[in-house]
């Protein structure tokens, strides 16, 4: 049997990236500011984690305007959803095995 640790996705190692993905999976889209408030991180920190997820093609960015202010929202991609589900499965398996 494969070792489930290998199945864990390195990208979801960080608490912040895990939080971003969780929020995006249950919402159609989430704005930068809402993410910031939900996860309670600084702008720069959040932006760099979002960049990582975007580069892995797990999320996509949409820039729009609310009045004059820019409003950036994020959505999860099909690939992101799949990767996140695999990660959850791996977590579940590990907990099962260790519980024995």
């Amino acid at each position: 049997m494969k070792n489930p640790i290998e199945q864990l996705n390195k990208i979801f190692d960080s608490r912040i990236r895990l939080g971003i993905m969780s929020a995006l999976l249950v919402n159609e889209d989430v704005s930068f500011n809402d993410l910031k408030e939900l996860i309670q991180v600084t702008d720069g920190n959040l932006a760099s984690h979002l960049k990582t997820l975007e580069e892995s093609a797990y999320i996509k960015v949409e820039k729009g305007f609310v009045g004059r202010k820019t409003n950036t929202t994020y959505k999860v991609t099909k690939a992101g959803e799949k990767a996140f589900r695999l990660h959850l499965d791996a977590l579940e398996q590990m907990i099962r095995q260790m519980g024995k």
Binding site: L8, S22, V26, M94, M98
Partner: protein, 215 residues
């Protein structure tokens, strides 16, 4: 190294983020109790007014149906304002205690999804009153409020859905009992709200209430 503790932490984090980002969970049970209480008080006042009207004025020259209507509208407005203010206040305190932002995307979504059916119903009832068709005012208010709750329940505590179903059933039954509208109204807005509020408090708030504010 990834230990079991860490994995459980990760799962807890995921679950929390999913809940927090999609649902507004700070609704306090107390707001249901206060809304129900003020509805019962309002219904009692309305019954007194109606009884007085039929006893003293009916058929006489000093009878004033417009005054009665205005009195009843004022009572309804008072009940609504009291219930709304109580809901906002208790919810604000609860969100502070839980450390959740009070006015965020989830609160906006909840507001929009409940206000839309409610405003539609309010306009319909307004027009009924204008046309002096009072018979279906109580059923309509119960029905539209029930639909608003069912619609909003996707964005807050799931139990709100059952309160909505109960309101709709009450409203539907009352359609065939015109003349008893006030009693159905008192049952729906009064008794059901109080039952809901108490059970929510029992389920979610009892512990924090007893153990003081959460760290």
């Amino acid at each position: 190294m990834s230990s079991n503790e860490q994995n459980l932490d990760a799962i807890r984090e995921i679950r929390q983020m999913m809940d927090r980002s999609s649902r507004f969970i700070s609704l306090s049970g107390w707001s249901g109790v206060v809304a129900g209480g003020s509805a019962l008080a309002g219904a009692w006042l309305a019954r007194e007014k109606i009884a007085a009207y039929f006893q003293d004025g009916y058929g006489k020259t000093e009878a004033c149906p417009v005054c009665l209507r205005n009195d009843l509208l004022a009572i309804a407005a008072g009940v609504f304002i009291l219930a709304f203010v109580a809901a906002v206040l208790f919810t604000y305190f609860k969100s502070r205690r839980d450390g959740i932002a009070f006015w965020g995307a989830s609160a906006r979504r909840l507001m929009w999804n409940t206000m839309m059916p409610m405003l539609t119903g309010a306009l319909l009832i307004w027009r009924m009153i204008e046309l002096e068709q009072y018979e279906l005012v109580a059923p309509a208010s119960l029905l539209f409020y029930g639909l608003a709750l069912v619609n909003g329940s996707k964005f807050t505590l799931g139990e709100v859905r059952y309160l909505g179903y109960a309101m709709i059933v009450t409203g539907l039954i009352s359609l065939w009992f015109s003349g008893y509208g006030l009693y159905f109204w008192a049952f729906g807005f009064g008794v059901l709200h109080i039952l809901y509020g108490l059970s929510m408090w029992w389920k979610y708030e009892r512990y924090t209430w007893l153990s003081g504010p959460r760290a």
